[in-house]
Symmetry: C2
Subunit: 215 residues, 2 copies
């Protein structure tokens, strides 16, 4: 099938919404399979950078490492689940971290440069933090990552300091809340919400054969 026909086919189906936070280990894992899963079923992915801090507050939740007992478990499960998916993982020493600057760079790239560059930035940021411990909350480290990714570091810093991209991220957080997002990764497929890296199999079945529940 010619490329144009494939694109036309894809555009007829709704995009798969993928909400993530740069400080979420399970978002990192999902970021490595979501494009392949969507492509197998002729779907586009709309990546949505957001801040878990905002959704946690609305849902009266805390990061999983903030709870006794659960903390020890998830620190083990982050790495195990990454290895289960065939991915490298190194638990960052400082975790979780504030990720608004990385997220603003994402929205700047997405809205005014190129969607593909935004996705590449998201994947690079998640990999940098969860495999090399690059502190995305540190301005110098974020500038260096931008340069590594072929971006102008000054332009990236200007973007994350710009009121326009601060507002754009705020809007993204509000949209996430309005759609019921309370954690990450969070997926919406044809209006159906799926929470967690461990919903991959359900998403695959939904994409392959539609709803499997009466709801």
């Amino acid at each position: 099938m010619p490329i144009d026909d494939v694109s036309a086919l894809r555009s007829q189906r709704s995009a798969l919404q993928f909400f993530f936070d740069f400080s979420s280990p399970y978002s990192y894992i999902a970021s490595e399979w979501i494009e392949a899963v969507a492509a197998r079923h002729g779907r586009h992915v709309q990546w949505q950078a957001m801040l878990l801090g905002v959704t946690f507050q609305a849902a009266e939740l805390k990061p999983p490492v903030a709870y006794p007992l659960k903390r020890e478990y998830v620190l083990r499960d982050f790495e195990r689940s990454a290895h289960f998916a065939g991915l490298p993982y190194r638990q960052p020493e400082k975790f979780p971290i504030p990720t608004q600057n990385a997220a603003r760079v994402f929205w700047w790239l997405n809205d005014s440069v190129d969607g593909a560059r935004a996705v590449a930035w998201a994947r690079a940021g998640l990999r940098a933090y969860f495999t090399r411990g690059v502190p995305l909350n540190d301005a110098a480290a974020l500038r260096e990552l931008a340069s590594e990714q072929g971006l102008d570091a000054d332009a990236a810093e200007a973007a994350w300091s710009d009121e326009r991209w601060k507002q754009r991220l705020k809007q993204a957080n509000e949209e996430a809340l309005a759609r019921g997002v309370f954690g990450a990764p969070f997926f919406i497929v044809d209006g159906e919400p799926f929470w967690g890296n461990d919903r991959q199999a359900q998403i695959e079945r939904w994409l392959a054969s539609g709803p499997f529940t009466r709801l």
Copy 2:
């Protein structure tokens, strides 16, 4: 292979620990596959009835339906995840409910009658609550369920009122906490903890080929 040889082989490997609460939808789903998964890999399952209220308190957690946003999601996901696993599901009107009486009957059967009867009781209780809405916290309903399961209803009620089985359940809760259990279903395989119905695939891989992580 003669039955005795299979039993001998099984006993050489450690049992798979399966912690559940009678009021946990994901425990219900897991209760339907855990025996088949263990059997495929020559393992026994040690069923462990416990009270989520105790582990939630220790981990500073609440039931998932007690959080804004998350509540709406999980009420959808309970049923969807059951259907994904090929199981019937009907959300009980009263949810969650206190399940100490059902759990004490489990320990009475397990310790002084027969492990297989205890497992049958656990499966029957989970199915009754999550497919027929039988309120396990109601004495009359629990007596009726006991009768349906071929138990003496008076003996069952005597068991759940008996200080001995109250203490046995308390001990089970304390053991669960000591092993890091903070939710249900919770599995321990060769010392490795797995939380959630959605860890089935990881448990299968662990049983088939051992650790897949450096931890």
